[in-house]
């Protein structure tokens, strides 16, 4: 009979790099509070989470980032990620806010924020991100691949994490990861068969990051799956937390 871990909890430290915290106006999420998020983290052994605010992604980054800091409220297991719109924001004040709050990760969602990911829009912001050694997170559903490729290749020292990769993106996203060595990949939705083997072959273990896309997905399934690939404990640890710590330059 099938062998399963019926009460799974991670055997290695976990730092989830794709968690949303807060309400949205279009539906009632199963979890929209800090307490609920921590309960879900504890259930499967997630120690820390990189958190963004959905209002900042969908509407106004300034208010969204303020809401983010309010909801995190000093909880040390939550690491804040600021959202920005380089087409409309004031870089000076955004930069100050990033510094004050010790932000290490920036999120862009160009389609939702109505701007193309092209250098004449995002160039100044990209230069700033590189200079400040920040990491940019961007979902694969949020840009035109050709525009993205042409822009990112101009910033070879940037650290960029592709989020929400799904099997439907395989034909172009895997070649993109191969073509740009400064790209990392977050695996919350990447559950195509042989998913981890494909990524290990194309980008190597050091560029793969565990993320859940919580609360739009549970934290457990991908974490459970990662524990069932027969990879070494050091590789598992790197994917689940070490790689993210390294690119953010923090030690949890």
């Amino acid at each position: 009979m099938g062998e399963v871990d019926i009460d799974f909890k991670s055997s290695v430290p976990v730092f989830d790099c794709n968690v949303s915290l807060g309400r949205v106006h279009t539906r009632r999420l199963v979890v929209d509070s800090a307490e609920g998020t921590i309960s879900a983290m504890d259930h499967v052994g997630v120690g820390h989470a990189l958190i963004h605010n959905p209002y900042g992604v969908n509407y106004d980054p300034v208010h969204g980032n303020n809401k983010l800091m309010e909801s995190i409220n000093g909880i040390p297991r939550f690491i804040p990620q600021f959202t920005c719109n380089p087409a409309t924001f004031d870089l000076d004040s955004f930069s100050k806010n990033v510094e004050i709050n010790n932000i290490k990760a920036i999120r862009m969602e160009p389609h939702k924020q109505n701007f193309p990911f092209v250098n004449w829009i995002v160039g100044e912001c990209m230069e700033w991100i590189v200079n400040k050694q920040l990491t940019l997170f961007i979902p694969v559903t949020e840009f035109n691949p050709e525009e993205f490729y042409n822009t990112i290749k101009m910033y070879p020292n940037s650290k960029v994490v592709l989020c929400d990769l799904h099997y439907s993106h395989v034909p172009w996203a895997l070649p993109l990861l191969k073509a740009l060595p400064n790209l990392y990949v977050e695996v919350s939705k990447f559950s195509i068969s042989d998913s981890l083997l494909r990524l290990l072959e194309i980008v190597g273990a050091s560029r793969i990051l565990y993320g859940s896309k919580f609360p739009y997905q549970p934290m457990g399934p991908q974490l459970y799956s990662l524990h069932r690939w027969g990879i070494s404990e050091s590789t598992l640890k790197a994917i689940c937390s070490g790689n993210l710590e390294a690119i953010l330059g923090i030690n949890i």
């Binding site: 099938g2 871990d5 609360p215 739009y216 399934p221």
Partner: protein
């Protein structure tokens, strides 16, 4: 860690090459994937050839290579109704298929439109389970409304000898709500769990609303790795008994088979 042995039956997987996703249907590879996930048996279908008999031949040939680990679900289409009924007879009486898989978005009328009825009448007369792709909600898949879950309420009442399995359980939140509503009203409706869209708490929602007797584990292999789907069940906040039922015990009842026919 609490490793246990329990029956795991995958109610939703596919065979056939999918070059668009760089997937090949190699038997050894499937078995390795099932072993890693702890799956005893996987029921496969193929739905992408316009000639349904070709689909069923591909499934049959695949299953015959390893019938202990794989079983077949047949496919027919109302586009060619003159072929559908003879093909159902061949699929279930010669090719040993265990259920019918339908895909309403391939057809321009809702799944409860009478043009589907000859297929369902045959299944009803022969007590054949029918598994259908279901999806409903916002986004780019508007054709999927032809198989929205609430339509199966009508079908489950009209064709009571069929066990109706809602693949993906409607996928999005709107679809999941309809799936639960339909299943609550008709005891011959079952929910199957594979999805690219399942929110946190989806499995718990199904169990809270419906109980644990009519929920079935599915993988969507090879589009979704079998480990991921098992992970959705075992990491849900539900009882161990519920996990065991969803992972495999419920499927025995739907397919009317014994555990001895499955266990490896």
């Amino acid at each position: 860690m609490n490793i246990i042995n329990t029956l795991v039956i995958d109610f939703h997987s596919h065979v056939g090459r999918m070059g668009n996703y760089n997937i090949i249907d190699d038997m050894d590879w499937y078995v390795k994937n099932l072993d890693a996930a702890g799956v005893d048996k996987s029921f496969v279908s193929y739905i992408f050839d316009g000639k349904a008999s070709n689909c069923n031949d591909i499934v049959y040939e695949f299953v015959q290579k390893n019938p202990k680990r794989f079983g077949g679900f047949a496919h027919v289409t109302p586009h060619y109704m003159d072929e559908a009924i003879p093909e159902l007879d061949r699929a279930f009486n010669k090719l040993e298929m265990k259920a019918l898989k339908i895909y309403p978005p391939f057809y321009p009328r809702p799944v409860n439109h009478e043009s589907w009825y000859p297929i369902f009448e045959w299944c009803n007369a022969n007590k054949i389970p029918v598994k259908s792709h279901t999806q409903y909600g916002p986004g780019e898949f508007k054709n999927d409304d032809s198989g929205r879950p609430i339509l199966f309420l009508d079908l489950a009442q009209k064709f009571p000898n069929i066990n109706w399995i809602l693949a993906h359980s409607g996928n999005m939140e709107e679809g999941r709500i309809e799936s639960v509503q339909a299943a609550k009203e008709c005891s011959n409706i079952y929910l199957e769990t594979c999805s690219s869209y399942g929110d946190h708490g989806t499995i718990e929602y199904f169990v809270d609303e419906l109980g644990d007797d009519r929920i079935l584990y599915g993988s969507d292999l090879p589009l979704i790795d079998a480990r991921f789907g098992v992970g959705r069940i075992v990491t849900a906040k539900i009882s161990e008994d519920s996990k065991r039922k969803i992972l495999g015990l419920n499927a025995l009842k739907v397919l009317n088979i014994n555990e001895s026919e499955i266990s490896i």
